[in-house]
């Protein structure tokens, strides 16, 4: 296979720029392999996060030629190697160094979502009988590997920086998994409306497009949650009903 040039962003919060690294490519290589090769031979101090190298842990998120990707799952044969391959850190989060960003905001946000509250067990052995078809939907959401690529592309966060009003697609998926968990009895709908800013999402589906787990974030998680908010707070019939009930 041909050789290639990797144009990698080097720097920290005070600034930085792109640096070119020539590499030798081999069959089956992914972007993360190229970064590792550069790290081992040309730039020992190049900062990159990674763990599983198999698309299961969501550590190596970055922007490859401008597209949000897991570096470990982006094969070089999907890229035009006649041009330098640009690799930069996710742009929505503050950079720490090189390709590593500070994603700690996400961990803080998660704490604001009400935790699992079990309903009363329905089986005599103190557990629950749950049908597979009732877990199919939330199981889709549980596939999330927390790579935060959806957060990275969401314009409410990326362009408008509404980090204090809006939790982002990852946490709507998280809330949806809890809301649709057949064993859960908590109600997160008011929080979604008031604290988590679900109304700010205007369903452009950017999150769905970049999800490496192919979770239908907008259609299967966000829209159903929006519907719950509407049903509970904006349904005129229900409003009327509530009024009469006093």
């Amino acid at each position: 296979m041909a050789n290639a040039t990797f144009r990698i962003w080097r720097g920290d919060k005070s600034g930085g720029g792109y640096k070119d690294y020539p590499i030798e490519t081999s069959e089956g290589m992914v972007v993360l392999d190229a970064v590792h090769q550069i790290q081992a031979s040309q730039a020992n101090d190049l900062a990159v996060r990674w763990n599983c190298k198999a698309g299961k842990c969501g550590s190596c998120s970055a922007e490859v030629n401008g597209f949000p990707k897991l570096m470990c799952m982006t094969r070089l044969n999907t890229l035009d190697l006649t041009q330098p391959v640009t690799v930069q850190p996710m742009q929505t989060f503050p950079v720490i160094r090189d390709l590593v960003t500070d994603v700690s905001w996400n961990y803080e946000v998660k704490k604001t979502i009400q935790k699992m509250k079990t309903r009363k067990p329905d089986a005599s052995d103190g557990t629950w009988r749950v049908n597979q078809r009732d877990v199919d939907r939330p199981q889709e959401f549980r596939k999330c590997i927390e790579c935060f690529l959806c957060q990275n592309v969401c314009h409410v966060l990326r362009e408008h920086q509404m980090f204090s009003e809006f939790v982002g697609p990852r946490f709507f998926v998280y809330a949806a998994a809890l809301e649709m968990n057949p064993v859960d009895a908590a109600d997160r709908v008011a929080d979604l409306k008031d604290k988590h800013g679900i109304g700010l999402c205007n369903i452009t589906k950017c999150c769905t497009h970049v999800c490496p787990e192919e979770i239908k974030i907008t259609d299967n998680a966000i829209i159903p949650l929006k519907e719950r908010v509407v049903d509970e707070f904006f349904d005129p019939v229900r409003k009327l009903f509530k009024m009469f009930k006093g």
């Binding site: 089956g28 698309g55 799952m73 094969r75 935790k115």
Partner: protein, 603 residues
């Protein structure tokens, strides 16, 4: 010492995989102040990679299952070097540990009557693995993480611990640095739980990520704890072999549990050719029976592909060595053949093995519903680790606990698939419970500033040296060395050579130099991991050299048979007063009369 940020907790947990998180949850529920430090971000530890499931005798799918059968399976799999008390506790407590995950939000696959579904796995007599497709580890770590964040646990991410601190004989805490800025941190704690996982990075071909450098084992060893069974390293039979960049990435045993078969380049199912004596009565002797087993026929015996991992790995090595391997030096693993038996097989395979489908499609351009995979052994797990008390998980150092992969005892000479996730839960919980108890019974230890200063000085030394070897070269040389000389098939002369090479690499590591600054500097981080890697590599080679027989994960070309005499001993490693590594034979923990009876019943 005032210049370092210092924290005080009752319990410090090192590692945030399944065992560490479960320990933290328990210790915190017991009312102690808990801190968890992890080398990676929360939720990224290797538990996330576990695919097949967690073994627990819940008997949801086959009501003949019970803790007694699970106990017997675990002991047989471990070739009776296991600590029988740990195997008993594990088999008895695993079902409750799985059920409580459900109450914390885990969504397992279901049986038709709505209970937690369980699947077949190698070495387990009955379908026993609670699972979620082939991403059970992700479900488990996320459930524990999400439960833990609401418990007031102090999570500190991307911290590497470089040394444990002691107050006299007892543990006093630990010292490390944050990867982000390279600042030193001192953790003062009444109890420390090691939950750092494995040693896979000591080998070239491994399913483990960069984190698994044997930190817990090495930290404990230097702090005066004992290591046990370090010769037993599990080479998982099925890792990807092609393309080169993904070599070693795991292919779940679940593929075989769902009917996948192993073939050589002649198309032969070679696993039928070599069935060990003690498994003959429980193994199918024809393909039809094997298929009936994986489809749930209770009268059928399991196919030989589901024999224990050590055995399957060696059979694959034999096929490759004798010229019957696949083009890229593995053998063929085929699940697509089930289209002969199952309607709509491609959909069935994608539903049962979604992440395998995804992994091969995306990384190897292979559609596993249509064509076979190429697979070969990959370093996966270490059965050995810190020697702990079976009930409390405390090491011989007061206040120092260990759980999960970095502890030893449950698995003996070979671990059964599925027994790891349940191990993390059962013994993670116990470590947390007893660490909390211990913390409540002792006063806050004193910190010794010379220990801290010495560790800090050693940590920054690589920046001050010029002209030493780079950390990546040393690490790669060690990995090649261990792969070639202390891998799946071992010999006396090769392991002796491995030890010589380790000694020379130690000298090089003592002179390693790095450049750049301390902020997120991968070169420096790699340099800091070398000591642990070299320590555990030496332990593996020394124990491997001493055990002159073949058993479980340890196979000696020069002593290919099992030796009854050796079956009475574990190998224990400790640090001698002169700093050298002491290796000793110690008698195994004997089974009680009741244990023996259970083993006999299940022969």
């Amino acid at each position: 010492m005032a210049s370092y940020e210092t924290f005080e907790h009752d319990v410090l947990v090192i590692g945030a995989g399944g065992a560490g998180l479960r320990a933290a949850v328990e210790a915190s529920a017991a009312g102690t102040k808990v801190c968890v430090v992890s080398k990676s971000l929360l939720g990224k530890a290797h538990t996330v990679m576990a695919e097949g499931g967690m073994a627990a005798a819940m008997a949801n799918v086959d009501d003949r299952d019970s803790w007694r059968v699970h106990f017997a399976d675990t002991m047989r799999g471990g070739q009776y070097l296991n600590n029988p008390r740990m195997a008993e506790i594990h088999a008895k407590e695993a079902p409750d540990r799985v059920r409580e995950l459900e109450a914390w939000g885990a969504l397992f696959d279901r049986t038709k009557d709505g209970r937690i579904l369980q699947r077949n796995f190698g070495g387990h007599r009955y379908p026993r693995l609670a699972h979620v497709g082939d991403r059970t580890g992700l479900e488990m770590i996320r459930t524990l993480q999400d439960h833990g964040v609401h418990q007031g646990i102090d999570f500190q991410m991307e911290i590497t611990i470089v040394t444990l601190l002691k107050d006299g004989d007892r543990i006093a805490g630990a010292m490390g640095y944050d990867r982000e800025r390279g600042r030193f941190k001192v953790y003062r704690a009444k109890a420390v739980v090691l939950a750092t996982g494995g040693i896979g990075r000591a080998y070239q071909i491994t399913s483990n990520s960069w984190e698994y450098t044997g930190d817990g084992q090495a930290l404990a060893y230097h702090a005066g704890a004992k290591l046990l069974d370090m010769e037993f390293v599990q080479f998982h039979p099925t890792g990807m072999v092609w393309p080169p960049s993904v070599k070693g990435i795991l292919v779940t045993e679940g593929v075989r549990g769902e009917g996948g078969v192993l073939r050589n380049n002649k198309g032969r199912r070679f696993m039928f050719d070599d069935i060990p004596e003690n498994y003959r009565s429980s193994t199918a002797d024809n393909e039809e029976e094997g298929w009936r087993y994986v489809t749930g026929d209770k009268s059928a015996r399991r196919p030989p592909e589901l024999l224990t991992r050590d055995h399957v790995a060696r059979c694959i090595v034999r096929e490759v060595r004798e010229g019957r391997g696949s083009p890229h030096g593995g053998v063929f693993l085929d699940i697509s053949w089930i289209k002969e038996k199952v309607q709509n097989a491609p959909e069935h395979i994608k539903k049962k093995l979604p992440s395998m489908y995804h992994q091969f499609k995306q990384l190897g351009d292979i559609d596993i519903t249509k064509e076979p995979m190429e697979v070969g052994p990959t370093t996966h797990y270490v059965m050995g680790g810190v020697r702990v008390d079976a009930d409390s998980q405390m090491s011989c150092v007061p206040g120092l606990f260990a759980a999960g992969e970095c502890a030893a005892g449950l698995h003996g000479a070979n671990r059964l698939g599925g027994n790891s996730l349940s191990d993390l839960l059962v013994f993670g919980k116990r470590a947390g419970e007893f660490a909390a108890k211990h913390a409540k019974s002792v006063s806050m230890p004193k910190l010794d500033s010379p220990q801290v200063e010495a560790a800090a000085k050693a940590a920054v030394a690589p920046f001050e040296r010029q002209g030493g070897e780079g950390p990546y070269q040393i690490q790669q040389t060690l990995q090649d060395n261990m792969q070639q000389l202390a891998g799946i098939v071992r010999r006396e002369d090769e392991m002796t050579r491995a030890l010589e090479l380790i000694a020379s690499l130690k000298a090089k590591a003592a002179n390693v130099s790095v450049y750049g600054n301390r902020e997120y500097n991968a070169g420096w981080h790699t340099a800091m991991d070398l000591d642990s890697l070299l320590t555990v590599s030496e332990a593996v080679a020394r124990a491997g050299l001493m055990r002159r027989e073949s058993r479980g994960g340890h196979f000696r070309d020069d002593f290919p048979g099992k030796d009854n005499e050796w079956g009475q001993y574990n190998i224990e490693i400790s640090k001698a007063a002169d700093g050298s590594m002491r290796v000793e034979r110690v008698p195994i923990v004997p089974m009680t009369g009741e244990h023996q009876k259970i083993v006999e019943e299940n022969k």
